[in-house]
């Protein structure tokens, strides 16, 4: 049992005693608190950045620069009336927000925030848990996180939320595959599933980052796929205000609504952190030689990179128009999945030998040509005129009968 938490963490090597348990508990608490705190900051950050981009002032009443605005909003939501629609499935309706929140919290456990530190004779990683299945936990949790949305939409007993649910489930399944395959490319390069190992393998300068090592393509795919998984703009068809009036959370109010909100922003932060871990070397970066403070710089590097991604998400939201639902599906199935598959083959091939790499590249190229043609044909067939045949009962008439009917003569 312990192995799942302890694979790479030197904390557990010497056995478990009270101190170890205390340290582990403190790690969990610190991570939780930091995450919660950063969510409030993130919300403020998003509103502020968007207002800046739109030449507005944004929140500015509460606290310096409006920093406490989020807190105020939270208090407001807390005291609002808790409505449950009459048509709702009460149990599921109440359950859904928690299902949304929990995966977001758990995912963060695998993110290495900094290097190892030593306190009270115990060396440990600045990471809640370094599990041997590390990155698989990310996939698992991103798989689970969709339940919040699906069940919330369904249980509301209302049309728009239901459509949102259907969209969410389809979207999740569509992008999960591409996401998984890019993660596999990272794992191939590292040879380990552990996020600690992934970060360690990228140490020693930005040219070692997976971003560079694997070519930029996996990162781009990952970014797109994760954005879709997060239902962030421009892939927010699930909660599109203009189409679905907010989608799955239309019927939610009060604290439950706040939980969804919390989950979404927490996910944004976590995924930014995961992206940093997978492609940008995590906490790695130049460390100035300042005694007793070596541990601090990796954390700062990590935070810096993460904030950059958070900013990117906000920027997307401000700058990009929303995808149409069918475009979203097309992008997922027809572009990202084939591309990520081809890239995965390529990476695997070059890891074995250049010969393999080039031959797999050639195969991928051929495959992409074939795929393009198949899509083309599929499209032309789709739009082809639907000739209406006369039917007998439910079954169309056989063509030879038809020919006789239309030719008007029997040869």
């Amino acid at each position: 049992m312990s192995v799942i938490l302890a694979a790479g963490d030197p904390l557990y090597v010497l056995g478990v005693d009270v101190t170890v348990v205390v340290i582990a508990a403190i790690k969990v608490l610190v991570a939780f608190a930091a995450l919660m705190g950063s969510v409030t900051l993130m919300i403020w950050f998003e509103r502020k950045v968007i207002s800046d981009m739109q030449s507005r002032i944004g929140p500015n009443r509460w606290g310096p620069f409006g920093l406490l605005q989020t807190l105020a909003d939270g208090i407001k939501l807390f005291f609002k009336e808790d409505l449950i629609p009459a048509q709702a499935d009460r149990f599921t309706f109440k359950l859904a927000p928690y299902l949304a929140l929990i995966p977001a919290l758990i995912t963060f456990t695998i993110v290495p925030v900094g290097n190892s530190v030593t306190i009270a004779g115990h060396t440990f990683l600045l990471q809640v848990a370094d599990t041997p299945i590390g990155i698989l936990l990310l996939l698992a949790m991103s798989g689970l996180s969709v339940y919040g949305v699906i069940l919330a939409g369904w249980s509301s007993g209302s049309k728009y939320p239901l459509i949102s649910s259907v969209r969410a489930s389809a979207q999740m399944i569509s992008y999960e595959a591409a996401l998984g395959m890019t993660v596999v490319t990272v794992v191939l390069a590292t040879g380990s599933l552990s996020t600690h190992d992934i970060v360690a393998s990228q140490a020693g300068g930005f040219w070692n980052w997976n971003l560079i090592r694997l070519g930029v393509v996996p990162f781009v795919i990952f970014l797109i796929a994760i954005t879709a998984e997060l239902n962030r703009p421009p892939f927010d068809v699930v909660e599109a205000e203009s189409e679905l009036v907010g989608g799955f959370h239309t019927e939610y109010s009060s604290l439950r609504f706040a939980l969804f909100f919390l989950a979404e922003f927490m996910n944004t932060i976590t995924m930014s952190a995961v992206m940093v871990t997978l492609f940008f070397g995590g906490p790695s970066g130049p460390v100035p030689n300042i005694p007793h403070l070596e541990w601090l710089f990796p954390i700062l590097w990590f935070l810096g990179k993460t904030v950059a991604f958070c900013f990117a998400y906000v920027w997307f939201r401000a700058a990009l128009p929303r995808f149409r639902y069918d475009q979203l599906m097309d992008l997922g199935w027809k572009r990202l999945i084939p591309l990520s598959l081809a890239w995965m083959l390529l990476v695997a091939g070059f890891l074995v030998s250049p010969a393999w790499g080039f031959s797999l590249a050639a195969i991928s190229l051929l495959g992409s040509v074939a795929l393009t043609r198949a899509f083309e044909i599929g499209t032309t067939r789709e739009v082809g005129p639907d000739a209406v045949l006369p039917t007998v009962g439910e079954r169309p008439l056989p063509p030879y009968v038809l020919r006789r009917l239309t030719d008007g003569e029997d040869n």
């Binding site: 074939a370 198949a374 044909i377 032309t380 079954r395 056989p398």
Partner: protein, 488 residues
């Protein structure tokens, strides 16, 4: 860290590769050509693929004859006469089913090259079962076969019974798969390996004082198989599914599933767990008795020919199980011979049923067959021969099939079970002969059935196989006899 990849004997898995390759090729053609793939192209391609697989199995046979049996791919695939013969049967039967389906597809206007893709892949699954030397491979083969069939059963989208039958089949098939794999898991726990030869080796070198785990595992696997081959009391799905599925698919189901499933079960129970025969034989005996009697008895009261043939197929499953019951090489040969001769006959029978049943599969009442032979002597005679062969009439292969499994059972000390199944056979003989008689009824109600050339070919093959090898049984007999099961 080095990984030693297992060596691959490509000839050993060539038929499987050929079928899957053909399936894939059809898929590619469908995806990459502008016009839709015509039925002709699809039929010719898949028929050619099956023919190639059959020819390949001839080469395999001579290879195994000269070099002996072996396993390949890390003991996952057995390369032995038994597997080759079963594979060849599957290839030939699939060829016939393809041709039989051609006319149905043309008439029913459910165009789509997917039919052939699925048919070939399902047949490849059956071949995997036939050649498997690992419980997991058996399971995967079973699933490939079953999943292909679920879709094929639902293929007629103009008829709601088709998809309903598929749903029923799928639910019970899933249940059966779960039972089987649970049994496989317990067997794994009991022996520490999933390889069949490994299990046999383990059994040979260990004396198991408490075989509880194994007994439970074997029992569950057997029940799973009983579901798949529709042995009583696990047969309840089969009449409905036989009725609902498109007739050529029913023919394929009645033949290839039996070949694959019996090949798999013989490998597992006799090849690997033959030493535990005392544990599983009572269960098989119960299945044999129940299947033969209830299959024959319930067939008597059917008024729909597809349901009747479903019960008849249950009855035949009972006979095939008799070879398993005997748990001897002779039993293996007997069951192999049984499926070998039953397969073409049943495909041909369902071809006629398909022609007679009409596009909407709504003309399956037995009354509709009255006087068929009067109006269309050749077609009627063909159906009569096919039915008589299934009844086990002398000088048809059906008789030797029953004889072969009966001999095996008596040889294994089962004269009592032999007597029992022969009584059941006489009940079965009655409903067959009654149907045959109604074909020759002077009461002329049968409409004229047009027989397209491909269907005629399939029917002719079925009839000739029953008659020619009925008079001259030597070749098939020695084939079955020499198809030795791989033993460690």
């Amino acid at each position: 860290m080095t990984i030693t990849m297992p060596s691959v004997n490509y000839l050993a898995i060539a038929p499987i590769l050929v079928l899957l390759g053909g399936s894939l090729a059809l898929m590619m053609i469908a995806a990459l050509t502008k016009s839709r793939v015509s039925l002709g192209v699809a039929t010719v391609t898949s028929a050619a693929v099956c023919a190639v697989a059959t020819i390949v199995s001839v080469f395999q046979w001579s290879d195994v004859s000269s070099h002996g049996e072996s396993t390949t791919l890390a003991h996952a695939v057995a390369y032995d006469g038994f597997g080759i013969v079963a594979t060849a049967i599957i290839a030939v039967t699939t060829l016939l089913a393809t041709l039989s389906a051609r006319d149905w597809i043309a008439r029913a206007r459910t165009v789509g090259v997917e039919f052939h893709i699925l048919l070939l892949a399902a047949a490849a699954g059956a071949m995997m079962m036939a050649q498997a030397n690992d419980l997991i491979v058996v399971f995967l083969g079973l699933e490939i076969l079953s999943i292909g069939l679920y879709v094929l059963v639902a293929y007629d989208r103009h008829r709601s019974t088709s998809s309903e039958a598929a749903l029923k089949y799928l639910l019970l098939g899933g249940f059966a798969s779960a039972l089987f794999i649970y049994g496989a898991a317990l067997t794994y726990g009991g022996t520490g390996t999933t390889t069949l030869t490994g299990i046999a080796y383990f059994m040979a070198h260990n004396f198991i004082l408490q075989p509880g785990v194994l007994v439970a595992g074997v029992g569950l696997m057997l029940v799973g198989f009983a579901f798949k081959v529709a042995a009583v009391p696990f047969h309840t799905w089969s009449p409905d599914v036989y009725e609902g599925a498109p007739s050529p698919v029913t023919g394929f189901m009645a033949s290839v599933v039996k070949v694959g499933a019996f090949a798999g079960v013989l490998r597992i129970l006799i090849g690997a767990l033959g030493t535990q025969a005392t544990a599983w034989r009572p269960l098989v005996a119960a299945l044999v008795i129940l299947s033969t009697f209830l299959g024959a008895g319930l067939a008597l009261v059917q008024s729909n020919i597809k349901r009747l043939l479903a019960y008849s197929s249950i009855n035949h499953a009972g006979f095939m199980l008799l070879g398993l019951w005997s748990a001897t090489p002779r039993g293996v040969a007997g069951t192999l011979y049984y499926v070998m001769t039953y397969a073409p006959v049943v495909v041909a029978t369902f071809t006629i049923v398909s022609l007679r049943g009409g596009v909407n599969e709504d003309l399956h009442e037995l009354g509709g067959y009255r006087g068929l032979a009067r109006r269309q002597p050749l077609l009627g005679a063909a159906l009569a021969v096919l039915l008589l062969s299934q009844a086990g009439a002398p000088f048809t292969t059906g008789f030797y099939a029953k004889f072969a499994v009966l001999t095996a059972a008596v040889d294994a000390g089962g004269a009592w079970i032999g007597v029992a199944v022969m009584v059941a056979a006489s009940i079965a003989g009655y409903f067959y002969i009654r149907l045959v008689l109604s074909l020759y009824d002077t009461h002329d109600s049968a409409e004229v059935v047009t027989v397209p050339r491909t269907s005629a070919f399939v029917i002719a093959v079925g009839v000739l196989s029953a008659l020619v090898f009925g008079v001259w049984p030597g070749p098939l007999e020695s084939l079955a006899q020499h198809a030795v099961l791989l033993l460690p």
